[in-house]
Structure formats: C-alpha cells, structure tokens
Symmetry: C2
Subunit: 310 residues, 2 copies
Amino acid sequence: MIQKLITNIKKTNAPIVVGLDPMMGFVPENITKKAFEEYGETLEGAAEAVWQFNKAIVDSTYDLIPAVKPQIAMYEQFGIPGLLAFKKTVDYCREKGLVVIGDVKRGDIGSTSAAYAVAHLGRVKVGGNLLTPFGEDFATVNPYLGSDGIKPFIDVCKEEKKGLFILVKTSNPSSGEFQDQLIGQDKRPLYELVGEKVAQWAESCMGETYSYIGAVVGATYPEMGKVLRRVMPKSFILVPGYGAQGGKAEDLVHYFNEDGLGAIVNSSRGIIAAYKQEKYASFGQENFADASRQAVLDMIEDINHVLENR
Amino acid sequence: MIQKLITNIKKTNAPIVVGLDPMMGFVPENITKKAFEEYGETLEGAAEAVWQFNKAIVDSTYDLIPAVKPQIAMYEQFGIPGLLAFKKTVDYCREKGLVVIGDVKRGDIGSTSAAYAVAHLGRVKVGGNLLTPFGEDFATVNPYLGSDGIKPFIDVCKEEKKGLFILVKTSNPSSGEFQDQLIGQDKRPLYELVGEKVAQWAESCMGETYSYIGAVVGATYPEMGKVLRRVMPKSFILVPGYGAQGGKAEDLVHYFNEDGLGAIVNSSRGIIAAYKQEKYASFGQENFADASRQAVLDMIEDINHVLENR
C-alpha cells in the first residue's frame, strides 16, 4: 500500500492528504435539512448529512489528491449510524482510487491490538470466510504501550500489505508534556526514542524504497521534524497541523527527503470547511465543494512552491 | 458514576470487574452453530454469537459483581455488526445494574477527543435532540498526547457524571519501553509523571471520597502499583493482569487504600473462558456460564482473603 501511496503522490504531484473530519458545524444547512427530513433529527440523520457532505467533497477533489484521512472520532460520536457513514466513506474513497488513512489512533496489547489491526487493516475469520470489517489502507496507532502493542499491527500489515502511521510527536500545544521529557544518559527527548523504535519497526516491513511503517509528526514542531526525518529515513511522515493549527509550508520542507518524497501533509478543516473562510466566501454555502477544490489547489501550490525553492 | 461504582462494590463485597472480551475461540460451539444457522458465516453471525455468549455470562454473574469491562476491539473486529453487539452488551449490563467500563483506550486532541468523549460517555446534539451514541459509564483513555487530549474527556465527565481510567502503567511485558524511561533531574519514571498528572486531573473532578478520574496500573508490576497508589490517593485504580497474565492476589493489596476501596481488579479470559481451564472442566462446554460464575466466586474469595489478611 505504500507503493500505491507513492504512485498516487507522483501522479497528482501533491504530497497532501485531505482530512475528512466532518463536524456538524461544517455541513451546509441544505444538506443537513434534507437529511433530517428523510431520517429525522436522529443519529441516522446526522450520519446521512455527514456522508452526503463527504461524498460531495470527494467527488470535487479526488482527481487532485493521493489520499484522504477520515478521523473516526467524528463518526463514532454518531454511534452505529455514524460508523456506517465512516465505512461508506472508506469504501467510496477506495473506489475512487484514493489511499485511505484511517485516523483511528488505536493501541492496546497482544490479541487486543491484533483485533484492532484486523478491524481496520485486515480480514477477520468467521467460520470458513475471511471478511473485511472496515478496510482502510493505513491506520494511525498510539505507541504508549510499547512493542507489544505495535507488533500485532505490523503482523497484519505484512500479511495484507497495509501500513501504519505511529504517533511520534503530535501537533498539539501540550504534546510536550510527556513526549518531550528528556530521558537516559544523553538526555534526548522521549519522542526521539519512539522515532528510533519506528525506524526499527520500519526496517522489518519495507516496500521498494519506503517502509509500510510511517510516523505522525506535527507541522507545528519543525525543528523536531528535521531531527525525526533523519531518525526515520525509510518512513513516510504524516504531518498534521498545517493551516488551521498554525503550521506553514516553509516549516514543512525538512519533513521531506531529497527525493521529494517521505512526507504527506494533512489539512482537514482548511479544505472541507474552506467555504467558511473569508478567502473562499465568494463560492457561497451551496458551492462548498468547489471551495474545497480551490483550497486543495492552493494548498498544493503552497507546498510545491516551497519544495521547489528549497 | 464513581458513587455507583463504590455502592456496587460495597453491595457485592467484590472489588472486581469482569472483562467481556469475547474472542471467537471462547464461544462454545453450540452458540456459534446456532448463530451461523440464523445469520450465516457473516459478521452478523459472529456478532450474534458474541452477544449470546455475553448475555449468558452476564445473566450468570451480574448479582455477584459490581462492574463489567467490555473490550471494544473484540467487537470492532466484526465491523458494524460487532459494534452493534458492543452496544447491546453495554445496554444490557446497565439494565442489570452493572457499571460499564468501556475499554476503548481512545485518545486524541481538542475537538476530536471531545467527539470520542461524547461517543462513549456523553450525548451528541443532533438538531434539537441530545442522543446517546454508546453510553458507557467509564472509558479508558490513552495519555500520550498530553492534557489537550484528556481535558475534553474531563469536561464531558463533569457534565454527565461519568468517569475515566487513564493508562498510567500497563500490564504487558514491554510496557516499560516508554513508560519506565527515567526523566528529569530526579530520574523518576515517566509513568510517575503521568500518575501525578492523573492526580491533578482527579482533584478537578471529585465525587464524595474518590474522584471520577481513575488510572490503569497493571497487576504485573506490584512495586510500581504501591508507589502509584500513593501518587494518586483519590483515584480508583483499574488493575488488569490478574490471573491469565500472571498477577497474583497477594500482589494486589497495595493497590487498595486503607478503607478497602480504591482499586478494582479485572479478569477477562479467567472468567469468561473458565470452562476451558482444567479447574472448571467438569462443568462442560454447555454449562460454560456456570463455570464463569464459579470462577467469579473463586476470584472474589482469593482477593478478599488477601485483603482481610494484610
């Protein structure tokens, strides 16, 4: 699946991923109204609104982008109907040829981690059948529990040719509370140790030039990103925090390798709620998907501009 | 909800929780066969088998125990039908008066953590309605992302009078890889810092004598449990690792406070797959739920014996 990601990035010349994190406040009124008319003000109604919103944005942007990253929490909050909308979104994006990164941040140990891996990246055995529960291409994983938590995911990745992005240094203001703690004789930060572990896990699961095992490093910490790029040379870095969270394109150059690959930059509300920004307000609420398309084009230009001029 | 947990523990005189982590290999053949006859070898068939298995165990043990802890990964692996079985299990256990600890180990930041909190502990606004997505009483949460990840959960807990168990020191062999790293001037382990943060968060969210904010500390690290008990005096400790993972009752005394409260010990396969142990083999596969009841009685006696003799 890392090969498909690389192929898609080269084809679109766009090292970006659109975060499908549909908060209800982002969904235009006409979509919500129609969904509520059909299903009532229910979990089903909310899920239908979210799904129609996603579909319009995917239809309007899929030819420009290599991948999407649905954030499962935004679906889980609408219970079972919400998770059905998540599954429909995953399936629809895969049909459109997109790589789907399930932003699920799961993590447990042993057979429990294996169950999460199967749920999101694998197939589950039921009697004589092998069935696909959710079927994303990549999943984000939390490393706090150590190797016992990661290895069952890696086993499924090897079997299914799927991939991971393991949280190393997250984009939020308080990410340093635990991740930046200085450890050991040489007083290096914890996130570097986690990065070293990712590099080891990555070695065990290589594609042609890059590993199936990547990392998450926030755009909001560019100096740390520079170090982590060197620590994990074979891993793709999934970079959240561009745009709405304050990360700028010029901060991102060091997340990429010399080959122009090795990173994929996420934007969520900056794309899917573009119509709410002053910059794209002229599209109007009814043309929200066109605003998203323009925001994608602008983001690609912004990032490629700094990559070409580094 | 911490008051209900304490009331239930006092009523049953059993500081234990039954982990409802139904792997397919635990479900007796006659249940699986019947479910497959009705739904085929499908995700629906697997979910039905899991639900019938759970229901029998809950019916056979609910009067002896204060709480259950369904592990959502074991349901998520069966996709949407599996999560429906999770929801049915949560609802059924709450109807039976049990406290339900959703072992979901979620964790993200900001509005995403808020969405997870709403999904599992809160209510989501849809139009003019407030709806309950999954409705557990407590949830387990991963702290790797720092305060930004935890505070949205605490906000929902305050509103809904629900609670958390935050991962501090997990029971697995490699938990020390990151959690035991020595930090700062005084070279204390990371899990102690996480424990101190839990104590602070706990202060902000108090019930009568205990906080709504608890911690997870594995039974397999009793010396660390002793320290963490003092670090987090107002927090309940959820203790995995008893039984199958090697934790013994005598290791557990220091997880409790002087009042005999402050800890709740989990057993999963030791209870729900008791009929597979030599000790309970005489019950036979068809009486698996009776074997589980006997295993619960034995566990309560084992733990109370060491608590009375400390």
